[in-house]
């Protein structure tokens, strides 16, 4: 019997949608739908074991080999640049990384720009690429409040519909990069469990491309 494939799924709505895709591709694990507090679910027949982890931790589980494959947002992959293979774009969880600020904000290039964000690396890379001097303020949540209170000039954050921004009198300006969920694989697992991972990734990529 071949080795089990360990799959790290992001907790929450996106993770559930991702599981549905795995299920449709023939890697179902019925016990996962039961309402309980278990964290690990396996289907020995299909050779898969799923577990729920915090979305921002998926890449860590995969990079360190605790999970063979996982699903993580491109935002996390860009921010932490884990050493993993990126095998497929799931075309879901689509949103964009954007710069937003107060509606009447005008960039004054004579001053250092204050940027509040959960993604300091993405923000730094972006502003370096346009040679803009910035001061990064790392926040962990409720980023939208920063420009309102004058903590920062702009924010760099994920924008899905833009509704939160509008309700807070903010406006998205430039888009830095489009974001979607990606199937990632541990580099060493990819080699030792190559047949299984390639098959799984192929089916999922095919399903998502439709």
């Amino acid at each position: 019997m071949a080795d089990m494939i360990n799959v790290a799924l992001p907790k929450g709505r996106l993770g559930e949608k991702v599981y549905d895709i795995f299920e449709k591709c023939g890697f179902e694990c019925p016990s996962i739908k039961e309402k309980n507090r278990k964290l690990i679910f396996e289907n020995k027949e299909k050779g898969v074991r799923y577990f729920w982890v915090k979305p921002s931790d998926v890449a860590i589980y995969v990079e360190r080999g605790a999970a063979d494959i996982g699903v993580a947002g491109k935002d996390i992959l860009l921010e932490y640049s884990p050493d993993v293979y990126e095998l497929a774009d799931l075309q879901m969880g689509k949103c964009r990384m954007a710069v937003a600020g107060k509606k009447d904000f005008r960039d004054d290039r004579t001053r250092t720009l204050k940027v509040a964000t959960k993604f300091p690396n993405i923000a730094r890379t972006y502003y370096n690429s346009i040679s803009r001097e910035i001061d990064i303020i790392k926040l962990n949540g409720s980023i939208e409040i920063a420009p309102i209170l004058g903590l920062s000039d702009v924010i760099v954050d994920i924008v899905e519909t833009g509704k939160t921004l509008i309700e807070n009198d903010l406006k998205p300006f430039e888009t830095i990069v489009p974001i979607s969920a990606r199937l990632i694989s541990n580099k060493v697992s990819f080699k030792f469990k190559n047949a299984q991972i390639t098959e799984l990734a192929g089916k999922i990529a095919e399903y998502c491309a439709e």
């Binding site: 990079e63 080999g65 697992s189 080699k191 030792f192 190559n194 990529a205």
Partner: protein, 363 residues
Amino acid sequence: MQYKNVKLSKFESALFDMRMLFEQYGYSQYKVSKFEQYDLYAKNKAFLVSDNVLTFTDTTGHLMALKPDVTLSIVKNTVREKGLSKLYYSENVYRTHQGSQGFKEIMQTGLECIGEVDLYSTAEVLMLAAKSLKAVSSDYILDISHMGFISALLSENVPAEITKELLELISQKNSAQAESLLMEAGVSEKVKDAILALTSLYMPLSEALSSIEPLILNNNMQVAFDELKAIDSLMRIYGTENLYLDFSVINDMRYYNGIIFSGYIKGISDKVLSGGRYDNLLKRMKKEAGAIGFAFYLDTLEQLVNTSADTSVDILVIYDDRTSPEKVIDAMEKAVSQGKTAKASKSAENISSKETLDLREEA
């Protein structure tokens, strides 16, 4: 000398196996000092695994570094002899570990072949790399790639400004994004398809050759392909197994050219071995010669399960305050002279032994 009573850890036995292997093939040990002038690393930062270097100022005011790498020192110090210098080392290096802050002392062993590198020596180094992995576990994989093949393909009108991003995507096997990058850059269909085929390729070396042959577009690619093919047939003579062709193994083109490779062992989530042909480094150091070598990261073996050393002894001698020391010496020496391992202790807790000799007189 016999070491029958010393229980070697996986780590030590792998190290001794490798040293024996290297010496059998005529590689001589090369000792380097722990320190090196920082300048050497400042000039070649991109060659290092991580660009953090531990530095200090020595008594003469020079900025020194604790070695983060051995190859640079060996290359700098080998005066080129005629023919080929074959050297190996096992040294501690100091650098940060990927994804974690703070410096670590890392035990590293490896070999370098510097001078007139030919097909035979390339094959020999690859075979030794595979055997080094096998010394640890037969569940190993050696991935091979060819920088010459990729750079010749990229010379087919792939804009220079996307090269860096493209190589990054190839190393992530990210075909979807590589495709859109190549389309945006207006790369021709033929070149694009070849690059995408290489990105997703992962096959045993012998099988892979036939699937990359149709991708050859120019003479340099043909040269690189011929080298891979020759290597493949030599590896078959050696009987080396588990070789895969994988172009996601990518190293800095400023230093590496030709064959490059990485080794993996089941159960270890990091790369355990890394090496390749680095003529370009020698060129940068104004030396006209070829060089190929590899490093084995022994610290990664910690991740293997069941590697904890066996701490049990043959005879446990238990004594207390009223036992005369002479009696303990007598018992211990007797055991040791019989070639057994023995431990004198006042309590039997946390010690496992085959036999127990109780010399306690109290109670």
